[in-house]
């Protein structure tokens, strides 16, 4: 991997400052970066490490409220910090391209995909419109999008997330740039779709000998993509090495801790021999108003003190099941039993005590906590609401809860959510659920918006709380590593149906239902050759959507559904 090539991008002593509290604060504190032609560099680190800021700086761009100070950013011999805005703009899109995290949010919904694709080549007068369109179709074909001739003429909302992400990669390629910056392109995708995008990106970067900067917080992903890896922490470089060396012999402690994250595993619990399940979902069908059936005959049990992980790709009905249990979406058929007694279908008909039993922790802690309310009230309100605590007793209860989630009460009591980090916010969300003294908590993708280190902290916390308070969790996730570490039982869902369910140890042993098999094999591993091997095994056209569509219904393993 150490072929001597031309230096494409040279960044020396990169310093970026952000304006906050009436003064300029260093966000990036002197990072050096050298990228050769055709080389892929992975930037990893937790959120707030400055990955995306560096990515933007590679284009000579500083976001609103930030500025680049006395740094050297040299792109192909051209100094970007002293270049005029017009000169820099001429580079963007044509020689440096950017692929954003959420393609769904980054495409303009009012224009067809191909019109957005051809905008840059037309703007720079590199191609005529028809040529550009033909080129786009060629790129779509290379990226293995279905119907390459036709897909560009659809609007962004008519195309699935993974396809949109590939279309965006194609768009970045439209002017054959020298450098592409990928800013977490697969973070928002399911594992099964992620593979397709990863394979497509790697393929196309290889073919056109494009240099790339790949920003992510997922180590296993970066291991597949990058030639060299640079680890960042709080705006400073921790270390840089080639991928293999980095994976095998990380030098710094921080890097080692990143590598060790996936080691946590909670001991598996088993169902009590004879007992009534705490929550029992019985033959539930559900649909949103006027829509098609989202849940189709879903049944499973959750026993006291146990964790049931519900896995499946997005749209498989995981979150809808949670909404049925909490009463936000009354089922059209079937019922939910709580300790053997039927739970009123609509949350408005439930008594205070029934509401108290069943709490939720949300995926996005940002939207789950009211930004204008103090932590003391966020946590204190459920405590006061359900048990009528007041004054000193209430304050003691809040302090106790903050202690439980390992946050110093005196420091956080009077703060507002925007002043906290993502992990801390998620902890507050957990404390709010605990404040009600529940017996059952729905955890809806609680760790998927967090960095691995922080996510592990949350998982350990949840596990400890479960042991201390005998809580039952319904753990909705698409991340199988999370399932491996915390679940006792697993329920696999696809297209609103339960495909397979059973205790964790059985579920991770073959034989699987083909869909489970697909899910399991799609989880990236730390081995840099994993993607290559997988693609060789399965064939390039048999990953992701294509593979799940290909699961034969008459497969003997399909009929063996159910635990």
């Amino acid at each position: 991997m150490t072929k001597k090539k031309d230096v494409l991008l040279k960044i020396r002593n990169l310093k970026i400052q952000g304006y906050s509290n009436e003064s300029w604060i260093d966000i990036i504190k002197g990072v050096d970066l050298t990228l050769h032609r055709g080389e892929v560099m992975g930037l990893i680190g937790e959120s707030g490490a400055g990955k995306s800021t560096i990515g933007a700086a590679c284009m000579g761009y500083a976001r609103d409220g930030t500025r680049i100070v006395d740094s050297v950013i040299e792109f192909d011999g051209m100094e970007l910090t002293t270049a005029t805005e017009a000169e820099r703009r001429a580079l963007r899109g044509s020689r440096i391209a950017y692929v954003a995290q959420s393609a769904a949010a980054s495409f303009n919904p009012a224009h067809k995909i191909i019109d957005q694709h051809t905008e840059a080549p037309l703007q720079y007068r590199l191609k005529k419109r028809l040529e550009a369109q033909e080129d786009a179709m060629m790129l779509y074909e290379r990226l293995r999008l279905p119907n390459p001739k036709e897909i560009g003429f659809r609007y962004p909302h008519q195309v699935s997330g993974g396809q949109l992400q590939r279309a965006m990669t194609a768009m970045a390629m439209s002017c054959r740039p020298d450098l592409i910056i990928f800013d977490e392109p697969t973070t928002a995708l399911d594992v099964t779709t992620q593979i397709e995008v990863l394979a497509a990106i790697r393929d196309i970067v290889d073919q056109f000998n494009t240099a790339a900067i790949y920003i992510t917080h997922d180590l296993a992903v970066v291991a597949q993509m990058a030639d060299t890896i640079k680890v960042l922490l709080k705006g400073e470089e921790v270390e840089e090495a080639t991928t293999r060396e980095m994976l095998e012999h990380p030098k710094e402690d921080y890097t080692k801790s990143l590598w060790a994250v996936r080691s946590f595993e909670s001991p598996q619990r088993h169902r009590p021999k004879d007992g009534v399940p705490l929550i029992s979902v019985r033959n539930v069908d559900a649909a949103y108003t006027g829509g098609a059936k989202v849940l189709d005959d879903v049944s499973f049990d959750i026993y006291e003190g146990m964790t049931v992980a519900v896995v499946g790709e997005s749209g498989s009905g995981k979150s809808t099941t949670a909404r049925v249990i909490t009463g936000l979406l009354p089922p059209s058929k079937g019922e939910v039993l709580f300790k053997g007694k039927p739970f009123p279908a609509d949350y408005r008909d439930r008594t205070k005590d029934q509401l108290r039993q069943c709490q939720m922790i949300y995926q996005m802690a940002d939207t789950a906590l009211n930004p204008k309310v103090r932590i003391s009230e966020i946590i204190g309100r459920p405590a006061a609401f359900y048990s009528g605590l007041k004054g000193v007793a209430l304050k003691n209860r809040v302090d106790e809860l903050l202690d439980l989630i390992e946050l110093e009460p005196a420091l956080y009591y009077n703060r507002y959510p925007p002043e906290l980090s993502g992990g801390q916010k998620q902890r507050i969300g957990i404390a709010r659920a605990l404040a009600a003294n529940p017996t059952f908590i729905v955890c809806d993708e609680v760790t998927s918006a967090l960095d691995q280190l922080v996510a592990e902290g949350i998982l350990r916390l949840l596990d400890r709380l479960q042991n201390e308070m005998n809580l039952a969790y319904m753990f909705i996730t698409h991340d199988l590593a999370t399932v491996r570490s915390i679940a006792d039982e697993v329920v696999v869902m696809q297209h609103g149906k339960v495909i397979e369910q059973g205790p964790k140890d059985e579920m991770f042993q073959p034989p699987h239902h083909p869909y489970t098999d697909l899910l399991l094999s799609s989880v990236p591993e730390m081995d840099p050759d994993w993607l290559t091997t997988l693609l060789e095994e399965r064939g390039i056209d048999n990953v992701g959507d294509a593979a799940s569509a290909r699961i034969a219904t008459d497969d003997p393993r399909v009929s063996g559904t159910g635990a």
Binding site: D64, L328, K352, Q359, N370, K372, R381, Y386
Partner: protein, 412 residues
């Protein structure tokens, strides 16, 4: 060549050279182009034109200094959190706050500031300014300055009362419609559509001619006020009590009492015809507030924390008060400022047409109309109340601009 002209050019040239020397590009461009323009102006208009330029520049500089000093003053006396916000205020916003502050003082302490009463005839009609009368006399020989000061009180108080009522009704309905949705939302939204479909000035003229004559007495306005308060209160009661019968009974009883007290208090503050005006304004403007509030609250209602609160079993009133309202105050406050301007202009306009505030009560709008004849004699007296209206409107907008800018989340 007078001393003034020499001084004028020396100052301008000196300042432009200094700016050029210290490489202040925009300052130099401004100063030097002003110098060049002044050469031509001096030739065409003579010393008088230059004097006007100098005076306008001086005024601009003075108001900038006042704004700056006023902002620093506010920062000093405000508590720490407020001071931090205030420091982000541009000079225009500080100027706006200063004008609002001045008008508020003039309005509140009108009887102490004004040298004469608002209806007191002290000289001949249209008498020019002398040491007794700062701004001369109006068409009946009343002191213009005193009437201006009292006008601040009457016009602004009316506009403020109208806006507050419009806001209470509109915001409550909007919040409730966003939280409950369904038929309630539909009914309120369609009602507001109906009101908004009638041109506001014509609607105001219609309402005022219905309630303006015989009906403008204490009894009618008392019942109208009570009715308005009941409608607004019903929204609150429905949010607080929801499905509990006891809640409704107690709520309605409390509401009846509060409405009566409110109507009584308003009758002490304003006379019947003013109350009619306030209510008309409130009815015309509440649909706009409703629209905005509903849209803003609609964005908040879909957040997960609202779902969490609903699942906890919280009442609608708690949702509105603690969860939704704190997250929608910024646009609402900005809207309040804007609506205040519109209401203020509407009342001034109605008074100009002779339908708003009745004489002899001083009011900026009617002052313009009453003195309008004077403009054909080249006197600026009728422009003074007009300028007061313009100044206050601009000032409020300056402040609102700053708030909108802040709430839009733009940086640096």
């Amino acid at each position: 060549m007078s001393v003034f002209v020499i001084l004028y050019y020396t100052l301008l040239l000196g300042a432009s050279c200094l700016a050029a020397y210290y490489k202040k590009r925009s300052a130099f461009l401004l100063l030097f182009s002003l110098t060049l323009v002044s050469f031509i102006l001096g030739i065409i208009g003579g010393v008088a034109a230059l004097r006007i330029v100098a005076i306008s520049a001086g005024l601009l500089g003075l108001s900038a200094m006042v704004s700056y000093a006023f902002r620093e003053f506010l920062i000093m006396i405000a508590p720490r959190n407020m001071a931090k916000e205030l420091r982000t205020a541009p000079l225009t916003a500080a100027f706006g706050m200063f004008v609002i502050f001045t008008v508020a003082i003039a309005g509140i302490f009108a009887p102490f500031i004004a040298p004469f009463g608002e209806a007191e005839v002290i000289s001949s009609a249209f008498a020019p300014a002398d040491e007794n009368m700062l701004l001369g006399a109006d068409q009946l020989g009343r002191d213009m300055f005193s009437r201006l000061v009292f006008g601040a009180r009457n016009t602004v108080a009316l506009a403020l009362a109208g806006t507050v009522l419009a806001f209470t009704l509109g915001a409550l309905a909007g919040l409730l419609a966003a939280t409950s949705g369904g038929w309630f939302d539909q009914v309120i939204a369609r009602t507001s559509d109906v009101i908004m479909s009638i041109p506001s000035l014509i609607f105001a003229l219609l309402m005022l001619s219905i309630f303006g004559g015989e009906l403008a007495n204490d009894t009618t306005s008392f019942w109208l006020l009570t009715g308005f308060a009941m409608v607004t209160g019903l929204l609150v009661v429905s949010a607080v009590s929801e499905r509990s019968v006891m809640g409704w009974v107690i709520g309605l009883a409390v509401l009846a009492g509060v409405s009566a007290v409110f109507a009584g208090a308003m009758l002490i503050l304003f006379n019947p015809s003013e109350i009619i005006l306030i209510l008309v304004v409130a009815v015309i403007y509440s649909p706009r507030v409703f629209r905005l509030t509903r849209a803003v609250a609609g964005n908040v209602v879909v957040m997960d924390y609202i779902e969490a609160a609903k699942l906890r079993g919280e009442r609608t009133w708690y949702l509105i008060r603690r969860e939704i309202l704190p997250n929608s105050t910024a646009p609402l406050v900005a809207e309040f400022g804007l609506e205040f301007c519109f209401v203020f202009l509407l009342i001034a306009g109605l008074s100009f047409l002779g339908l708003g505030i009745q004489p002899p009560t001083a009011d900026w709008g009617s002052m313009v109309r009453e003195n309008a004849t004077l403009i054909s004699f080249g006197d600026i007296t009728p422009l003074i109340p007009a300028a007061a209206i313009a100044l206050l409107t601009v000032a409020v907008n300056f402040v609102v601009d700053w708030m909108l800018y802040r709430s839009s989340g733009l940086k640096v």
